[in-house]
């Protein structure tokens, strides 16, 4: 059980349309992912707030069907 990488990318982009989203399937099992999300919308937000924005985009799946998602967030270099 889990989510497809494409599905994760699509959900994040639906909530953060200008985000660059890279999702890596860490174990090749469709269950352990790393996501890197870069968005201008993160400017001025704390790391906690940036991560919460991504978790919100995933609509409650984080900690549920999505057990193992390593997340890193950043503001685009041009803005930081």
């Amino acid at each position: 059980m889990g989510m497809a990488a494409d599905e994760i990318v699509a959900m994040i982009r639906a909530a953060l349309p200008d985000a660059e989203v890279t999702v890596t399937d860490l174990a090749g099992d469709g269950d352990h992912y790393a996501a890197h999300v870069v968005s201008p919308a993160f400017a001025g937000l704390t790391r906690i707030a940036q991560h919460k924005a991504v978790y919100a985009a995933l609509g409650g799946r984080m900690g549920g069907v999505l057990h193992a998602l390593q997340l890193t967030t950043a503001v685009p270099k041009s803005l930081s």
Binding site: R47, I48, H51, K52, Y55, G60, M62, G63, G64, A68, Q70, L71, T72
Partner: protein
Amino acid sequence: MSQTTSSNARIAEIVTSNDVVLFMKGTPLFPQCGFSSRAVAILERLGVAYASVDVLQDMEIRQGIKEFSEWPTIPQLYVKGEFVGGSDIMMEMFEAGELEQLVTEAGVARA
């Protein structure tokens, strides 16, 4: 007292009575999840004294901490009563030297 109220009160007590506390799956010696294991490794590297709560032994806290912190996953780190983040944020902060800065400024005891 409703269940939420009682778990909130218990969690508030835990995070205020310990300078550094990690809510995790398993124990520092036997973490039961890769993310909890990573969080423990970071705290060990940092060399701070910390308390840990095994949420697998306490269903009320396991659910309650997610609502208390408004954060969907475990582990969760608190320093001086403030929610710091989960293992990803801990790692980012550790690598940037910000976790060191945080515990130094908070005047946390070293292990």
